[in-house]
Each structure stands twice: as structure tokens, then as C-alpha cells.
């Protein structure tokens, strides 16, 4: 698969529009889904996906065709999504916003009420989706890249332009932030209590 994509990208780089169209066809659903998971809005995801592929086309000349294509494309998508969320919320997300495990540092995206104050969550899955929407997008994207896109740490590091060790730390913190949000809402039992009671 990688070889095929690299070959297509190489041809697209030489202005072969058919090869470019094949790349779009190959990745369109994955990129739209990825953007949906980051933005939480279908229409935004579809519009942004178009921007992703246009930026891809305009930047193909900078693509090093000896490198794998998909982390490169996801990096474009990630940057576009983060730019979009910044503009939308007018929030500055720091690359590494957390100190050590400091409760105050878990950044939520906004202070809107939880949707279950309006609609009851049907199940844990929808609670998790709502909690994801409240995570810092930097956390959201690392979780999505790892568990939904099933990327290796190496690839995630390329997408996020971070060292692998930072990716691991961020992933751990993101998962912990999500867990705490679910504990807050009573979907998870607080297993930290056990720690405070005295870990073995």
C-alpha cells in the first residue's frame, strides 16, 4: 500500500493530475473521518478535507518521495484542523500545555454545559464522544491517531512533529484526561481513590 501511495505521490508531484485524483480517492474517507473526529462537525470536516487536498496539491513539490506518504498527508490535515479550531474558538493551544499530572492543567475546550444536561447519554460510547469533544484538540488528535487511525508512535511523531517520547507522554496524559472526564460524569468509577487509599 505504502509503495503504491508513494508511487502515486511521486507521479502527482510531476503534475500527473490522474495520480493526484487517485490519491484523493484513496484517502478522502479517512481524512474526512479524521477531521470529523477532531472538529466534531460533519460539514466542517468535509470542507476542511477539501482544503487538505488542495494544500496537498500545492505542496507536493516539497514531498520527499522516499518517505511514507500517509504521515505527511495527516500532518497537513492535522495542521488545517488545528488552525480551524483556533480560528473558531479563538483559543491558543500550547503544544505541551500540561505540567506533571496537575489537575488544574487538564485543559477543556470550553465551559459549555455537558450535553447530558439536555439529552441523556445513551451509553458509554456517546459519553466518550462527548468527552472527546471537550478535550484539548492536541490531546484529541493524539488519541485519534493512535487508537482510531492505529498509527505507530513513529508515524504520530511525524504527523505532530514531536519526538516519540513526547508523543508517548502526551498520549498518556490525553487518555488520563479523557478518563477523568468520564469519571467526573459518573461513567467511570474513580480508581484513583484506591491509590489515595494506599497503592500496593
Amino acid at each position: 500500500m505504502d509503495v503504491v501511495e508513494q508511487a502515486l505521490a511521486r507521479r502527482a508531484k510531476q503534475n500527473d493530475v490522474h495520480a493526484f485524483a487517485q490519491l484523493v480517492e484513496l484517502y478522502k474517507d479517512r481524512i474526512v473521518s479524521f477531521l470529523y473526529r477532531l472538529t466534531g462537525n460533519r460539514e466542517d470536516a468535509r470542507d476542511l478535507a477539501q482544503d487538505v487536498f488542495l494544500r496537498l496539491y500545492n505542496n507536493l513539490h516539497t514531498y520527499d518521495s522516499s518517505l511514507r506518504f500517509s504521515p505527511w498527508l495527516y500532518r497537513i490535515a492535522q495542521n488545517i484542523a488545528i488552525d480551524f479550531l483556533r480560528r473558531k474558538k479563538n483559543i491558543v493551544y500550547l503544544d505541551e500545555p500540561l505540567g506533571e499530572f496537575d489537575d488544574q492543567a487538564w485543559q477543556l475546550e470550553d465551559d459549555e454545559p455537558w450535553p447530558d444536561e439536555v439529552v441523556e447519554f445513551k451509553d458509554l460510547q456517546s459519553a466518550l464522544e462527548q468527552a472527546m469533544a471537550r478535550l484539548n484538540p492536541m490531546y484529541r488528535s493524539v488519541l485519534v491517531l493512535r487508537f482510531a487511525e492505529e498509527m505507530s508512535y513513529e508515524d504520530i511523531a511525524k504527523v505532530l512533529n514531536l519526538p516519540q517520547t513526547t508523543v508517548k507522554t502526551r498520549l498518556h496524559r490525553a487518555r488520563e484526561a479523557l478518563r477523568r472526564l468520564l469519571i467526573e460524569r459518573g461513567y467511570f468509577e474513580d480508581s484513583q481513590r484506591g491509590e489515595k487509599d494506599g497503592l500496593r
Binding site: 470529523y36 466518550l128 479523557l178 500496593r200
Partner: protein
């Protein structure tokens, strides 16, 4: 195994625990409710993210993206795709035209000072018939000359062959000359210009 080690292993999703670690983790879970809960929560989170909604791109997504490409880039694309064909057409025009002239022309052609002489041209053959006498030189281009009558002068054969019949006679010399390729091109041009002029003259009349 202690709680810290258990939690480290359960979160290390890039490293699959070996059989012994797996056994120890199971043992710890059985003994420690807090870690058992923690492990379940981590697995539920990972599974939940894995099952996040999938959104498909609209059906016309690819064409919409292509429509948005800047038009000059499309031109560049067309050029990069068809430049081989373009160069081939240019080469064909450049070399094909003279080649065409070399193939189409030279046409058989005969020049004689004796305007009244009845010299026949049949295909690639120029014939001086039995009962004809040509007074003066004749020049034959690109044909085979058959002298069945009489030529009272010299015969110049340009890229041409000849035969003289039993009753045929040439009083002067027979001079053979081959056109060089360049001569042929020049000759071809001259023929074409003559035909164009004839055509235009005909059209204006």
C-alpha cells in the same frame, strides 16, 4: 507485580506484554480492584476511540477537489501529460514536410525548347513517340525517358533513366545527373510553388 508496574504495562499500548507479564497482570487484577477498574477503563477508552463514528466524503468529492485546482496548474498538468505528444507533432511537422515533398515530388517533368514537339508523359515515363522529332535539347526530371522518335539535340537526364527504341535516335550527347537530397527539396518547393500559383491563377480566372 505492584500497582505502578501494572498501570505502566496497561498503558504501554505499543508493547504487548509477554506471557509471564500477562499472567502477573491477571493476578494483580484479581487481587486489586482499583487496578482492575483502571485496566477496564483504559481498555474501554481505547476501544471507544477505535469505534468513533466514520464519516464518508461526499460522492462528488474528488471532482470538487479537481475543480478547485488552479487552472494554470491544470494547464501545466496537461503539458506534462501531453508534452511527449506535442514534441512528436512538432518533429513530425518539422521533418515530415520535406519528407512529404521528397515522396510526393519530384513529379516527372520534361522541359524542351521545342514547344511544338509532342512529348508525352505517362505516369513516370516520358515518351518521344515514333513519329516525333524534337528540335533542340530536352531535359527530363525524375522519369524514365523512352526515345522512340528523334531528338535533334542533347538529352539531359536528371535523376532519370532512359531507353532508346529501335527507330529512336539522339543526335547530341546524353548527360546523366542525380539530384542531391537538397536539390530534391528545392525542386519540391519549386513544384509546390508552381502548383500553388497555377491553382491561384485558376481560381482568379
Amino acid at each position: 507485580m505492584d500497582c505502578a508496574r501494572y498501570r505502566q504495562l496497561i498503558c504501554a499500548d505499543d508493547l504487548a506484554p509477554d506471557e509471564e507479564q500477562r499472567r502477573q497482570m491477571d493476578k494483580h487484577e484479581a487481587e486489586c480492584l482499583s487496578c482492575a477498574n483502571y485496566g477496564t477503563q483504559i481498555r474501554q477508552i481505547e476501544k471507544g476511540i477505535c469505534s468513533l463514528a466514520v464519516v464518508k466524503a461526499p460522492d462528488d468529492f474528488v471532482s470538487e477537489v479537481l475543480d478547485c485546482l488552479p487552472s494554470w496548474q491544470m494547464l501545466r498538468t496537461v503539458w506534462s501529460r501531453w508534452r511527449v505528444a506535442g514534441v512528436a507533432v512538432a518533429l513530425l511537422l518539422f521533418f515530415g514536410f520535406p519528407t512529404y515533398m521528397l515522396v510526393q515530388y519530384p513529379k516527372p517533368f520534361v522541359a524542351s525548347l521545342d514547344a511544338g514537339a509532342r512529348i508525352e508523359v505517362l505516369g513516370q515515363t516520358v515518351i518521344v513517340p515514333e513519329d516525333v522529332v524534337v528540335n533542340g535539347d530536352i531535359t527530363v526530371y525524375h522519369a524514365s525517358l523512352q526515345v522512340l522518335g528523334r531528338v535533334r539535340g542533347n538529352v539531359f537526364l536528371v535523376s532519370s533513366g532512359y531507353s532508346i527504341g529501335q527507330q529512336g535516335k539522339v543526335d547530341g550527347r546524353i548527360v546523366l545527373k542525380e539530384h542531391s537530397p537538397w536539390d530534391k527539396v528545392v525542386y519540391g518547393f519549386r513544384n509546390i510553388s508552381q502548383e500553388v500559383r497555377a491553382y491561384l491563377g485558376g481560381a482568379w480566372r
